[in-house]
Every structure is written in structure tokens, then in C-alpha cells.
Symmetry: D2
Subunit: 340 residues, 4 copies
């Protein structure tokens, strides 16, 4: 199997370090560089001491990174910054896996509406492929620009897309009540991210129709057949490091058994979707540290909504794990390499 | 102010020890006894070392407790056991504050349906008063049997009852997605309650229409004006000790502002309900260790449900705090004594 | 009982908010002001939403605070800043309770050596009283400047002072292995204080002879009779919010039983020291939320050190609780007011 | 490379499930069986849902397990039970890796003194090899009975053995203050293991000279050259799942730099010992999820002890990881297989 060399932009955030850990287990992907604006010049293992003797590579500046010849670049930069910095790489023909939201939204105006900024390179939006292997595997294989899905979005869309494909016309409302670990808020210094503030606490934020992941959820569910559905989405912050559990209430989809069957059938061949029984609901412990999305459902009938419960590790299937899964597809490796 | 003497049955569970801590701050309530089947003969502070020099009283057996003359008995026993043991006390005319579910449900058949057991003394169900001070204050004042509400139920019903009273006919569905700390599952030895199992975990259980608190939620919301509403209720387990946050989706109730105004007006004089602004949602940290219920709401309009967020400390406003608030009302003390 | 009015400088840190909570329960101390440089103009309950309807007072700037007539000022400011800002208040004759280290060290040169800065007002060091009620109660009663002890120091010195008073000549070495909750590091934005960094983690820092609390430990133990003892002190960071547990190894002090007896006798009348049995060692849960210091000891004999275990709540007996205890003594209130 | 088949006795405890996860990544070790008395008949993934589709093998009873032909058996049973059940396997010539304490102590009387029970097969104690690869690699390679070291012991002995080998005569005292995550107490139902009891708590237990791991610590340090040293050992319980950090105070060993150099030299070729700088002390986060032991040291001089800090994952280097490392040596695989 041919080997590739990869670079990571924004390597010192939580998704960056997770990618490094995964790539170090990959037999065919060599680390070309790890880059960081603020830590350039330091060893990666100085920033993350747990990686001593695993990744002692020196971090380089983004400017230096752009000059390095690699086969694939993962961008773990924030939105807007990410597309801006990737632009010259795209022009050079390097394959990009962007973990930010920049290439997820097909419509530049929609992007601006949700992200409050002009898109740095709207001309490439059409070219970008939405990186959900379960639904875009063929396009991913040949993509130059891969838009890795959001963490919440992954947990919500994986169960819903097959459902909308089969029952899009019948479904009348969707409420996604999601709970995420604190690593989802990133490694930047914010009062609400302090241990003393988040520990022994639980809170809702950006609930209703305000969280940015709704942009991609709206887009992808519409493509799956959603008709005039504006998903109600309530993110919450859990006092733990990693994991997302979404409790999703679907009205109009009939009974849970039927919905479960539709989802099970859609994902029968998928290596990273595990269906659970209604009496054995997914948990965060069940997926933390793995690239799995666990899904189950219960309820429905007697006017009750079907209740879907899905769980992922927000840093793996919700970010770096899915990104590596996409890389495996893009470069022809076994899709589960370094992920099981 | 006249003093009273109180006893506690089942004092070595989490609600029992919480009651002891509150009562120790009460200037007019003397501890007559603390009782426990399994720890009888030990000092209370041997079971809960943090209470050394605060409550070193010896625990007595339930049999011995029944003989003790007191003005008021708190029962922290499990359902069925509680009503059974309280029966002779009721017959003696002692005032009972029952923290179990035994006297909450007016209809004995409904009780049996949800709790899978015959009610030990259905003849007293009519006499019992549902102990939600905000709605039954006058009846509480003279009650002999006080049925203290459930923890989840309190967090769900406090915001919903005023809403149903005003808009009962318009509301078409209610989904309550609730998250509770582990103390809500009690102090008994269960694998799922082990630290290693619950830490870094988050899970749903008994979701849909299966959790027993639905019995009292159905009953009280019907009394408030709910018409053919079967609340969808999804409890979840949070990796923290105390606190419940409920995210409640109400369809048909109009806009959040209007709903908030209705709730605010209903509770304007209430000492333990705090209304928050839509941009300042309740959190568990905001209520832990207090007897407050914090409430806010957002959303509604454009086909979106109103989203109500409420938070309580499950051991205080959700159990022992509310029980003491009820005791204060029953015996004519200032309602906030030992609670603020 | 005469009432007093108090002000708090630096009220928006963790010791400040804790003081506010305590003072709100005090029947004789009215809140004159809460002050903060960064949050001036905001309501206190906007910064700490859990205090809504408990303390909605507006925060004022330090400049404005200096003009306010009050009987007593608590300074929760950082070292150096604290003495500097308190200087005009001292000159006005206002009684000061300083929670920083500024007035703890009698020798200005020693202060400079440990705190790497000139003391802002060395002329007042003599006048300041070290605020450990168990050992300086009489001086505290009349103090104008009260130096509230450090959190680690309190947990270490409370058991050691009586021991050194009786056996100072015999003790040959002391090792204090201390573990503190994250609130001890303050509310400022540091990477190591982020939830994701501190959760599921445990680490040592400033171990050996480098932590600043050694300045006051050295000073006070010398006064108690320590001869040529340089305590080895190893602080560690626990993944919890509040509490300190110190495991202290004392060589040369004989057997645990004898040591325990000496400590027990010294503190027989103390309201906030609880002696525990060797088989019932102090725990953080046992003191969190209280102003107690729990102490026990085991070991000794056969060349083994006596092992003392002590536990306090770092924000209460280790800071704001002890500060209020000192205020009670200074103004003639019952020492336990608002603390039990 | 030849493949082997392995069995696991007591597979449903925390060390058992950890072993299964490791073995599933091993290219040459096939799972022959997983055995459990209490869960026999269930699928492994029913007991540990996170392993669905990873290990769905059915658990068999110990009796059935004894009949199964395998190359190697890991025993994760409790002490006494372990040796008893392994006896027939030993007699059959099967190679045993025992994670219990049963084969660690060479002297049957010492075993009985610490473990309060007769040894089930003292005749095999001589034959057993203490499974610390860094010191017994050659004997491990040919061992039939492998005694896997205890978790605390590993964290304490790894830094101390080289030190005693070089400076055994000079060292006059050792105090090991160790802190372990809750998984170290096992998966059995105990009040102190409940989430609500252990969360937000920290406590010492079995301190001084009472914890059973002292039996193997005494034995191995004596072999390394300790002269009349009775290590003082204080275990503590941390509110996290996995990890041990030991802070070890050594008197008489000179300066930290010298000690670090001795340890560094001893482990220069070791794949699972990482030396850290004095200003970069080991942390639990730095080793959790890995088979590394991180070691650093500071202090010494001026009458101060050298302070060694070591950290391991108690379930990996402290149990199942080290067990697999031993298996790799015993069967001639690369020592790091499935461990990096």
C-alpha cells in the first residue's frame, strides 16, 4: 500500500492532538508537519506531555507549513481562518480535510448568515464534498476538498438521514436535545470552560434555532427529503471531557421499531454505526474513545414521538476520527485503518 | 413561636441526611429521632461522618420509632414500605410528610398500574395533600398527610402548571427532556451507581411514557387544564451528585415571552421560584444547594415549540427542601425558615 | 448586639463570592459594598447568577469603595495589590481582614524573598495579627489588621502547632503532602484551570521547598517551637472544586495516640476543630461546605513516622470561613455566627 | 509469527475488560474464551455494551474454562481464588499470567500474614516469576507462572529499584504517598465505591504499614538492596476512574539530579518508562490510557528528601497492560505489540 505524508494546521487544539494520536497508529500515513501559530518552535510533546516519545516533532508556523510538500492537509483551524489559510493549498492541488465549518455549507449567503462573515473562497464551495462516509462515500473517494461534518450534526444527522429518505413527507417535526462534553468548546481560555465553572454543572446554550450546526443540518436533511422542517436544536454542556448524546424526538415517523429497521438497513454494511436495542440505549461511555455512532429508538404510537438516542465521541466520530475515516477513503486505504 | 419535635424514618438515605442538615438549622424543630432499619444502634454521625458534632444522635429501629411521641414524621422510605409503616402513625393522628410516591396519586388503581403493587392504605389517598406549596398552600397548612412531590415532577410541573391553567386548551404536546444527578437514584448498591460506571458517562433511561413520575405529572397537569396531553418524558443520568435540569418543549403555547410572563405572574410572590431572562438560562450550578426552582423560556413562533428550561436541586426543592417548606407551612412557621 | 457594615474588595473571585454567601446569613453584618475592578457596574448576581435575589447589589470600583464608610473591609485581592489598596483604609482606622498573604509574614525581607516584590507598607507588619483563632484569639479581638492564613497552611499548621509546642525539640522532620481542589488556583483564565485539563487529572506542583505558603508555615512553626525544621511541602491538584486534605509525616514525635491526645487537648474547646479516630480518617467530603478542620493520626513506633491527616474546605476554614470567624471575634459576636 | 490462543478467568472485572480490549488489538493472540462465574451465558458485550461488535463472545463458567485448550490463561480473579482455580491449569502445563497477588510473594508465611489465608499451592511459589519486565525480563521469557505486580507497587518500585541497587546502603527512609483512581477498588458493590460517595471526595485508607502491596514492595526492595527499610505507604482514593500518582520521599539518597540519572540510566532501553524533567512532573493525564510509567524527581540536599513523582495507568502498566507486556515476552512477540 502506498504511503502518504500529511500535515496538520492548528494542531494544538483538542481535535489536532486527537488526530496526531490517530495518525501515529496509521501504518501508511507519515506526519509531514504539525503547525501552530502560538506554539511554533515548541515540540508537540511539550504542549501535550502525554505524547512524549510518541510525537516529539517540532511545531512549525502556518507560514512554514504552507511551503511543505504533503499529500494531505488536515485543518483544525477555526472557521473563516481555515478556508483563508487553505486557499493557497487548494490552488496547489493539495487535498484538504477541513474540520472547520467553512466548506460544509453549499450556499455562500447561508454561510454568511450563520457565521457572520463573508466566505473567503466561495468559488470552491461547489467542489467541496460533505464528509459523511455513510452517505457520500463515492464522492469522498475523489474529493480534493473535504468538509468534515460538525460534531453535533453527526450525532443528529446519522440517524435522521435514512429516516428522511424513506419518510420525509410524513415527518412533521424534529427536536434534537443534545448534550456534549466540554472538549467541544475548544481549548481557548473562557470563564465558562474553567474547571470550577463546568464541574458539577449542566447548562443549555444557543437553544432553539440559534446554533450554527443548524446550517448543515438544514442543508443535509433537505437533501434527504425533509420538507419544511426546521429542526429545533438544544445543545447542553456536560461535566465530562468527551462524548455527545442526542435525544431526538421525531413526530410523524410512525413507530420506533419501523424507524429502527429503516436505519438498521441503511447502515447494515457500515463499519462505524452500531444499532442497539430499544431496551439498551446508547451511552456516552459506550462510544467514548471509539469512532462508533451508536443508535437506538423507542416510543412512537398513541400520538407519541419516536425517540431516537444517538451517541458519539465528539472528538472522534464527531471530528478527528471521522476526518481520518475520510482520509482512508480518499487515499484508498481500508476505511477502518487506525480506527478500530 | 411554638417548637415541635420531628422524627425521620429512613434517615440514612440521601434525602434523610439532607433533611437532618436542614432541621439542624431550624430554630423551632427539634429532632425527636432518626430511624433506620439497617443502621439502628449506630450514631447518625458514624454513618455520615461529616455530621460529627452536628448530629451524633443514635439511630433507632422503625419499630422503636413508631412508639416515639413526635409532632411530625418525615418518611424517606421507599414507596409501598412508606405508606405501610406510616399507617399506625396516621391512625394516631401524627402529621406525616411522605417523601415517597405513596400518597401522591389520588386514584389507587393508577397507583397500582404505575407502581405494580396494591396501595397499603387507599382509604387515606383522598385525605392526602399534594405538597407543592405554590399551588396547594392552603390545603398544606391543615394537612395531616402530606405527599411530597417527586424530584423530576417538581422541575417539570412548576413551569407547566401556570401555563396549562392559562392555555390548557391550546397546548398540543409537551416533551420534557430531564437530566438528573446520581443522588436521584438513591444510596442503594447498584452496578450503575458505581463511580466508575457513572463517571464520564451520560445516559437516558425509562424514556417515553415509562417513568413513574408520569403518574403525578399526568394527574396534576390534568387538574391544571391539560386536555388529552400525554407528556413525553425522558430522564437522563448526569455525572454529578445533585441537581436536575429539565428542557421542556411545549407546542401550541405561543411565544416564549408570553409564556414567561404567565409563569412570572403566577409566581410573583413565591419565595422559591426565580424567573430568569431568556438569554440567562437556568443552570444546575445556579440552584445546587438551594431550595430555588429557576425558570426561563425561549423560542416559539414560526412553528417552533416554546422551550422552557427549569432547574432545581433534586435533594432540596426536589425532595427534602420542599418537605421542610411544607413542614413550615403545616406548623405556621415562616415558609423560608432554614431554607435561605 | 450592635450591627456592623462591611465591604469586600475583590469580591468576584472564589473567596469573595463565598464571603458574600456567608455574610448574607449573618444577622449583624450588613453588606456595605462589593467591589471589583473588572465587573464594576454589574450586579453581583449577574456575575454569580446563583445569587439572584440573594445579592443583587451593584459592584463598585475599588476607587469608589475606598470612599465608602464601613466598619470592616475584607480584601480578597491578590498579594501586593491587597496591601497597596488597603493602605489608605488602614490610615483611616478601618479594620481590615486581608485574605491575601500580605500581612502574614512579619519580616519584610522574608516577604520579598518569597513573593518577589517589595512590601507596599512594611511599617504595618508588626501591627498585623495572624488570624488563626485557635492560637491568636485574644490578639484577634483587638486587631486592626488581620492577616487571614493561607489555605494549605491552615490544614498543615492546625495539627502541627500543638505538637511543636509540646514536642518541638524532639521532632526531626516534617513532610506535608497536600492535595487541593481547583478553586484554590483562583478564577483567572489559565490553561491548567480549564475543565478538560484538570478533569480526570491529578498532578503535583511547586513541591519541595518552593511553594509560598512555606513562608508562613516556617514562621508560625518556629514560634511554636520548631527547631531547625524545614518542612517539606508538596501541593497537588485534585479534580474537584473545593477541599484540601493534607497527609503529614512527622518523625520524632513518638506514637500517633500520644500526638492525637496532645492535639485533642489543645483544641478541646475549639468550635471548628474536630478530632477523629485513627480508623476514621478525615475526608474532603466530611468537611466540604463547613468551617471545620478534621484531624486524625496513625502510625509512629518501629521507626515509622506519625501520619497526621487533616482536612478543610479551602474556601471556608482555608479562606472565607476563617475570615468570618475572625470578624466574629474582632467585633464581639459569637464566634460561630453564620458558620454552623 | 506463530499465533496463540488465550483465555481470561474473571473477565468481567475492570482488569478483565481492559485485557479484552488490548487483546483485540493483538495480531497474534486469539481469544480462546472469556470466563465469569456470575455472567456465564451472557455475551461479553452485554456486560460491556461498549464492546458490541468488538467482543460478542459468550462468557463461559470457570468450570467450562478449565477444559478449554489454550496456550495462556490470564487470571483476573481475586487473591486465593486465583491460585486455587489456576492449580489444575498449572498441572496441565498451561502458562499462567496471574493478576492477583497469589504468586507475587515468595514466602508462604509472609503471604498468609498479609492475606490472612493459607496459600492454595505454596509448592509453586518458587517457580513463579515476578512480572516486572524491567527487572526480570529473562526469567519472564521462560516462566510458566507469571505473577503480575500490583498497581501501587509498580508505581513505587519502578523508580525505587534502580535507586536501591545503587544506593541501598545509604537510603534511610522511604515514604510513598500514593493516589489512585476508583477503578483500583474493583467492580464489586461497596458503599464507598458509589458515585455519590466518591465524587467530589478524596480520602486516605490503609495508611502506614497496613496495605497488602507492602508485602511485595518489601520483598522486591530487599532484593534490590534495601537494608532495614520499612517503606511507609499511604494510599488515597482520587475522584477519577484510572491512574495512580505516587509522590515518594526518599531520605539518604543525595540529590534529585543524581537519582534521576541513576533511574534514567537503568531504564534507557525500556519501551515503557519515560523520564521527565524536574520542572515537568508526571501527571495522571499524561499516562492514562497508556502503558507508560512516567518518572521525575526533585529536591534533596539541605536535609531535604529527594521527592520522586511517578505516574501510571493503574489498569494498564498497573495491571492488564503490564500483563500483556509479559505475555509478549513469554511468547516471543515484540514487547510493545498492542501496547503503543
Amino acid at each position: 500500500m502506498a504511503s502518504i505524508t500529511v500535515g496538520i494546521l492548528g494542531a494544538t487544539g483538542y481535535t489536532g492532538v486527537e488526530l496526531v494520536k490517530l495518525l501515529k497508529k496509521h501504518p501508511f500515513a507519515a506526519m509531514g508537519y504539525v503547525s501552530s501559530q502560538s506554539y511554533a518552535g515548541k515540540k508537540f510533546s511539550e504542549v501535550f506531555p502525554e505524547l512524549k516519545s510518541i510525537c516529539d516533532m517540532e511545531l512549525i508556523s502556518p507560514d512554514a507549513a504552507l511551503e511543505k510538500p504533503v499529500d494531505c492537509v488536515f485543518s483544525c483551524l477555526p472557521h473563516a481562518a481555515s478556508a483563508g489559510l487553505c486557499l493557497p493549498l487548494i490552488n496547489k492541488g493539495i487535498r484538504i480535510i477541513d474540520l472547520s465549518a467553512d466548506f460544509r455549507i453549499k450556499n455562500a449567503a447561508t454561510y454568511t448568515q450563520w457565521y457572520k462573515t463573508e466566505h473567503p473562497c466561495p468559488q470552491f464551495l461547489d467542489k467541496a464534498v460533505f464528509g459523511m462516509p455513510e452517505h457520500y462515500r463515492n464522492s469522498i473517494a475523489t474529493a480534493q476538498i473535504l468538509a468534515n461534518p460538525g460534531c453535533y450534526s453527526t450525532s443528529i444527522m446519522l440517524p435522521l438521514i435514512p429516516l428522511f429518505k424513506k419518510k420525509g413527507a410524513a415527518i412533521t417535526s424534529v427536536i434534537a436535545d443534545s448534550k456534549s462534553g466540554v472538549s467541544g468548546t475548544g481549548r481557548s481560555l473562557k470563564l465558562s470552560s474553567l474547571f470550577v465553572e463546568a464541574h458539577d454543572n449542566f447548562s443549555a446554550y444557543s437553544i432553539g434555532r440559534s446554533h450554527r450546526h443548524l446550517a448543515e443540518i438544514d442543508q443535509e436533511l433537505a437533501l434527504a427529503g425533509a420538507q419544511n422542517i426546521a429542526v429545533t436544536f438544544s445543545p447542553h454542556l456536560l461535566p465530562l471531557n468527551r462524548g455527545i448524546l442526542s435525544t431526538i424526538y421525531v413526530t410523524g415517523a410512525g413507530q420506533a421499531a419501523e424507524c429502527l429497521e429503516i436505519i438498521r438497513e441503511a447502515y447494515a454494511q457500515e463499519p462505524f454505526v452500531r444499532m442497539r436495542e430499544p431496551q439498551d440505549l446508547p451511552t456516552i461511555k459506550g462510544v467514548a474513545g471509539t469512532n462508533f455512532c451508536d443508535i437506538s429508538a423507542t416510543g412512537g404510537g398513541n400520538g407519541q414521538p419516536v425517540i431516537i438516542v444517538s451517541a458519539i465521541d465528539n472528538l472522534l466520530k464527531g471530528a478527528s476520527g471521522q476526518a481520518l475515516q475520510n482520509m482512508n477513503i480518499m487515499f484508498g486505504y481500508n476505511e477502518t485503518t487506525a480506527l478500530r
